[in-house]
Symmetry: C2
Subunit: 226 residues, 2 copies
């Protein structure tokens, strides 16, 4: 390998680790070489309910009513809403219930919401509720103070098995994504979630969305894996 | 220059553009080589007032009362607060007035606040009010609907002339900063603001703070200039 070729080789290897925010010609080239664009969906505060909590909040044997389908197959926004009340008795009303019914009740709020409620809430992947915050849920037929139910959802990307293979990504991998906007950023620690039926989308909460100027339908780009 | 020296040189040059989020040994080395740590202050929504607006909101010739000094010399939080009302008549109450009196009234809110008010607000450096949003300000003695007064403040770092020189930064330069937290990120388009009397601090709004898990007293690091 002659010197020029070696330098070229090193430059390209390094390119693979470069961040677009660093600017300059290399970043542009990196974009062109490997654009992994992902559409964004902004998750507003919501709640997934298990049947025992549905029974308490809406009445025994109550069934959720579908309002509209969500992007991921089988998921839907229900007509039902609940009110969340924190330990200092501050509340958030009209929090949407998402279906279908789950095995365990899980509330997902933003850190801004957590501050409103006067609550310390850990950042967690969906389903990891050990150490999650306690919250009082209020429905039209009853209320319950539920331990370990409330998290700030981590940033994550849903991707199909086929697409993940194409892009060289694996389930539960952490990547960074680049956001081009009025307030650009690279968001780190984004969890990859792979399933055969998943449609490609990045879920971020309203804090991330508002901080970096993203709305539903914006596109971000996976810039590196970790 | 022999080949090994050349490769070393290239690697170091590239290092200067590398982002810590990319991970790996180089990122760690980059940290060790040039840590430019900056303390963070989170700016909650607030308003700077000019005397004509003080006269309308609080009464002719009214003078602000200092509640407490802020970090930058001469700046203070006043005892006075106002209510902001947007075009859809939604409001935010208890918005703190910051002193001293300015030549022009300027309201700084987060994008989350803008959504609450039902308002489209541009991201701007302080003082650049052309195209800023119109907002109604309400005080105890009067109210005014003020055109071009409301912005989402850009991310910016206050730094003294001496410190800026040490770190090779110039006024109005844009840099990126790296945030290590539960939700790590690299925030781009951060404006450098240099003055002899400035004390080192990065000002971010509540959206950025809550998105990436920063509070007052957290430290971020300048990772590259643009």
């Amino acid at each position: 390998m002659d010197q020029a070729t070696l330098v070229e080789y090193i430059a390209r290897e390094v390119l693979a680790h470069l961040n677009p925010l660093s600017g300059g010609a290399w970043a542009v080239e990196r974009q062109a070489l490997a654009a992994k664009g992902v559409p964004v969906a902004v998750s507003v505060r919501h709640i997934h309910l298990a049947q025992p909590e549905i029974d308490i909040l809406f009445g025994p044997g109550y069934a959720l009513h579908k309002q509209r389908d969500l992007y991921q197959p089988g998921e839907f926004a229900a007509e039902e809403v609940v009110t969340l009340v924190g330990p200092r008795l501050r509340s958030l009303s009209n929090v949407r219930v998402l279906g279908p019914v789950r095995k365990r009740t899980q509330v997902e709020i933003s850190r801004t919401d957590a501050i409103t409620l006067g609550l310390k809430v850990p950042v967690r992947p969906s389903g990891q509720l050990k150490g999650a915050a306690t919250l009082t849920l209020v429905g039209p037929r009853g209320s319950i103070t539920l331990p370990e139910c409330c998290i700030v959802a981590n940033r994550h990307i849903h991707i199909s098995t086929v697409q993940a293979r194409t892009w060289g990504l694996r389930d539960d991998q952490r990547v960074s994504v680049s956001v081009r906007s009025e307030r650009p950023a690279v968001l780190g620690d984004v969890q990859i979630r792979v399933a055969d039926t998943f449609k490609l989308v990045m879920h971020i909460d309203t804090d991330d969305a508002n901080a970096v100027g993203l709305t539903c339908g914006s596109t971000v780009e996976i810039t590196d894996g970790e």
